[in-house]
Amino acid sequence: MAGAGGGNDIQWCFSQVKGAVDDDVAEADIISTVEFNHSGELLATGDKGGRVVIFQQEQENKTQSHSRGEYNVYSTFQSHEPEFDYLKSLEIEEKINKIRWLPQKNAAQFLLSTNDKTIKLWKISERDKRPEGYNLKEEDGRYRDPTTVTTLRVPVFRPMDLMVEASPRRIFANAHTYHINSISINSDYETYLSADDLRINLWHLEITDRSFNIVDIKPANMEELTEVITAAEFHPNSCNTFVYSSSKGTIRLCDMRASALCDRHSKLFEEPEDPSNRSFFSEIISSISDVKFSHSGRYMMTRDYLSVKIWDLNMENRPVETYQVHEYLRSKLCSLYENDCIFDKFECCWNGSDSVVMTGSYNNFFRMFDRNTKRDITLEASRENNKPRTVLKPRKVCASGKRKKDEISVDSLDFNKKILHTAWHPKENIIAVATTNNLYIFQDKMN
């Protein structure tokens, strides 16, 4: 059944694809993060080269009522540059690990972007007027001979071609010894957290020279290190609550009202494991690569190597829903360990109404799970279905045995084509899916 898997049987259609066609991918072009802003009008991407590209949705065309506005380039800038820490003899990558948008307060847009060590607050503003008619300067900027100035005039603002400027307003540096994996803006819109492998810091958006450490799991003796922080996020509504996930598959919920240092969790979410089922791979595949609260704040979703789990914040001992993303990989763990794919960090996201969740897989496949109908669908991001409004055909992987027509066998999957980053428009059925170096935008079919 084509299109099954979204609420009311959404049919997903190709809309746009951004990026180069050639197979030879420069490292700098590898997309490392994708994020819609709060209205969905803007879509930001970050890449390994430290660049941010922001797309803006066109205003809806009244005559073209059967498709929503396209996303076109709005602004692009170099957010982070490669650095070298001379004291530690350490190269700091410029790769953008995360982008998070601030809610819009005025005409300008603000976002936080971070690499391994430094977080930056960027202001993106539009300029569509410029002053003309200076007294002391010619129109081209040259200064006039003062002796020729005989009258006084007031410069006036005249319209000009829209210019979008990005400027760094704050630089939050030198607070992380280890590599930053997450940033999350608090619902108070004044503070945000940044998390690295062992510590989480709380910042105020206005203050760059100080941050408060709120979680520190570094053991006194590094030989005793057993787990690291893999992701962290503030609760969408409760400004005192945040969660962080670990490489051992646990999630801790902390309440900042309890104490200044939240080393003791308020809740510990962990699914019990049958010790007889344990294997060499158990801990590695249980490592949580992403944690996301639902928009409602009632649930949170975690992604580990093979599955997506939905947790009810009121129940710590097991998830309320578990969805298998690519269970057929369980019999390939040995080779996935050898080629390092087992350490791939997949992200996950909710749709606007929290009824469907989405995550990526290999072979440029991505998966959606409808929480209400319990149906799931596998789709592919590929240039083959390039006509706008072409409905995407569901894909199926054949785990073993006889392969049916149109199915693909596990051994034919391309493990270099991984979809790690996906984003869902906060209000509409528009999704952004990043392959290695291309950004795909899909929309539901509007009739």
Partner: protein
């Protein structure tokens, strides 16, 4: 109507057994994969999630170059060949004397992202 509510409750027994078998079947491929891995790498540590693996993650494979180390090692091994980097990049700092070949390539000039380029559908 049976009133057995203990751990050996009859109702749903067949269902439980089936679930057990399914779980075991799900895990057996994982065990088979583990056996494969151990056969290939017999020296693989007992604690996969232990210190070594996490330490590697914390260092993220960053390359170090210490000109002092390099020159001292060069002086020590005047007549011998310096050991080359080799495929094993997992060594902890200090175990291996880096050579200029080990250093990461200098980044190329920064250009505009291709995502900002014209859309090509083909």
């Amino acid at each position: 109507m049976s009133d057995k509510l203990g751990p050996e409750s009859r109702s749903g027994d067949a269902g439980d057994e089936k679930q057990d078998t399914q779980e075991k079947e799900a895990v057996v491929p994982e065990r088979a994969e583990e056996a494969k891995l151990k056969a290939k790498y017999p020296n693989l540590g007992q604690k996969p999630g232990g210190s070594d693996f996490l330490m590697k993650r914390l260092q993220k494979g960053q390359k170090y170059f210490d000109s002092g180390d390099y020159n001292m090692a060069k002086a020590k091994m005047k007549n011998k060949q310096l050991p080359s980097a080799g495929p094993d990049k997992n060594l902890v700092t200090g175990d291996h004397i880096p050579t200029p070949q080990d250093l990461p390539q200098r980044k190329s000039s920064l250009v505009t992202s291709k995502l900002a380029g014209p859309e090509k559908n083909c």
